[in-house]
Symmetry: C3
Subunit: 304 residues, 3 copies
């Protein structure tokens, strides 16, 4: 592993024009990192130095608190804003001390809620616009037309530049994409969660020329555990790491990024070394045989 | 609960122009109601007074007998015909004393059978046209082109005004809808049968601007049973009924009609009070939290 | 059963213009038939006499050996080439003594591999062109655009006349078919493997006007076994065979060919009598009741 990491490349996720860093820094757990504002600022600056310029949020992260933690750090150095892309999400209503009116966890994808949530996010993040807004989960009550019109209105108001969804099926993505161009569908994928590779999600995104974003590419840390069921997979990843001279994590990130839909993975860590390993993965190309070795280990059987 | 129910609204199920009452009276079990012709006529008139002007049939209901029971009642007051919409279906061939040639229950969606079935239905119902004809089940041997051509021929002949399907998947619906505009897909849905909400059926219909019709919205009565597995769901529906001041059944019908695909539910009862409770549901709007409370109780877990 | 079999009809599988014999002779197991070159030639000539003019191959059959066995026979009578259609496949990389570089069974659908595989097939088959080339399995790493461009280049080079896929889902088929017209999707189907009838595969092909090819229509011989679980199905097929005066195999082939997507089944046998029984099936039309009797026996329950 090298210490002079090449900078993270930039990618366009679709024809719609959004540019993200090939690795996106996920802020989901920032509230658990116990960082003072100055430490958060330092972490953000280190990410930017690595070329990781895109930061992934949601209104609900940290019990509706992470956006404010980030905004507080950004306020210490406001000029950083123009060097980064900020992603946020809306549509889930959590039970939370911060939202006492919510008596049950539910979804809300009405125009009124989307607009109010964006306004909250802009205020908490101390910014005038989001680069990308995602509907967090497919809502059984969502009106495709209403969401599309709300996206267009937010774009016209200068509050949000690009739009997407998260955890949508291939068909749900296309229903909305037909009404308003979407820049991504952010889904869970890892060697321990292969569903999007076989349920039309990745095929459909490739077909539409849209790159997925990937949450939990390291399976929320489960890939590093000592679960006997995943031992053969871990051994295989370690073997490929040895063959290529890259870290375990870099191999997993590389394995994911090699898919033809050109996935953009999120990190989840507050350690800059973890971000660096993800960035190093952008330099790795596995052989097809290495790639299928990992797939076989992940599934427990070879391809037909 | 009020006795001065507001009249049932009218809805268009698609751009194709079919107008149905928001609640459709299902005639499936009319043969079990043991009504004399004059009683059947009275029931039909009471439905019409409530604004329930659409009546759902199939050739096979009551062992190929219900259409005749209805037609017999209609013949007592033929002027009612122009105040109602008659829906029927074809495509299933039941084993029945009325059809001794059928040695096995099977499907037939050939032009010859569809046309013959419509002619039988018109004769039994004592009417010159159907307002809506549905293919009852997806047939593994169905030819999309042949069905579409048959529909167009029936329309040209003045025998059927609008067309649809029943129990079709999203993809099957679209295969036929591309060839001839369909006005609906009549499917099973209730808090005890949630599949269409998660298998693309409702998403696809919303996408196409077509409203589903819903059979067994009360789960064929199972919602009123004392099955321990459904006790929490029943308790939740009762709670929402108490909160809103409407009946248990009204809450279920309202919960269904609130979906963005604008479902049109069928009743199944011969009691006019049951029809009235369905009509009252057209006045109810549940809060999002009430709606998701019922969903959670139906699934046994909250949304992700 | 007659000895003067009517010749096998010819079918177009799509608007793209490929014509195949209604029954295709599958060469998968030719390596197991232990035939001398002259015997292979005689078998090919007997197939042609029956009107079975299409021969199905893959680069990998017989451990990368079958194409050469066929080419060796064809070289004894090169004029046969213009009376036949040769189908081959690529995209799977087997572990095999013939391919020592392969350390794991995997897929390769890159332009470089497809072109190299076609060149190998042409050389082994001793022909200048393939009539039809299929991607053998859907590859998680496949690039739809790259495959489409490679197909067009192979067509322009005169090496392959028509293109298709095998074992693709409905959605995968359509992703590629949008980029380059495909002539078929070759899938497994039989009374013991009904999936394509219910998972959108056949519906989608009918919708697109493309006929599937069918591998293992006799379930790889399992239909002839004495498995208790399939005894009712075997009894029903025997009954229909007795009713129609055709052989057991002919009934199964006829049952498949009666589907509205117009499937083109493959044989798998080196016995000319087995090919003849498949060809005889092209003369059979089962009644709908017979057809559904077999479906019911195959599923263990009648249709809804």
């Amino acid at each position: 592993m090298t210490n002079s990491t090449a900078p993270c490349p930039v990618v366009r996720t679709s024809d719609d024009g959004l540019a993200l860093s090939r690795i996106v820094a996920g802020m989901w757990r920032m509230g658990e990192w116990n960082m003072a504002p100055q430490q958060r600022l330092a972490f953000i600056e280190q990410c930017l130095e690595l070329g990781v310029s895109s930061f992934d949020h949601a209104d609900i992260y940290g019990g509706y608190g992470v956006e404010s933690l980030f905004g507080e750090a950004l306020a210490l150095q406001p000029s950083l804003r123009e060097r980064m892309q900020i992603v946020s999400k809306c549509g889930i209503k959590l039970r939370s001390p911060a939202r006492p009116a919510h008596t049950i966890q539910h979804y809300d994808t009405t125009a009124a809620h989307i607009v109010a949530s964006v306004d909250n996010s802009l205020k908490a993040l101390r910014t005038t616009h989001l680069d990308l807004l995602l509907i967090h989960r497919p809502d059984p009550l969502m009106e495709f037309d209403e969401i599309a019109e709300t996206f267009e209105a937010l774009r016209a108001a200068g509050k949000v530049r690009h739009f997407g969804v998260s955890n949508f099926t291939r068909h749900q993505f296309e229903c909305l994409h037909r009404r308003v161009p979407l820049a991504t569908n952010q889904v869970e994928f890892s060697p321990l969660h292969l569903a999007p590779m076989f349920d039309e999600t990745f095929d459909g995104l490739q077909d539409q020329g849209v790159a997925p974003m990937i949450w939990s590419p390291l399976a929320g840390g489960r890939l590093f555990g000592d679960d006997a069921a995943t031992a053969p997979l871990r051994a295989k990843i370690r073997q490929v790491a040895a063959e290529t001279g890259y870290s375990f994590s870099s191999v997993v990130f590389a394995w994911i990024m090699q898919l033809p839909s050109k996935p953009v993975p999120l990190t989840g860590s507050g350690r800059i070394e973890a971000i660096r390993e993800a960035v190093e993965a952008t330099q790795v190309t596995l052989t097809r045989q290495q790639w299928f070795e990992i797939l076989r280990a992940a599934r427990g059987h070879e391809v037909a």
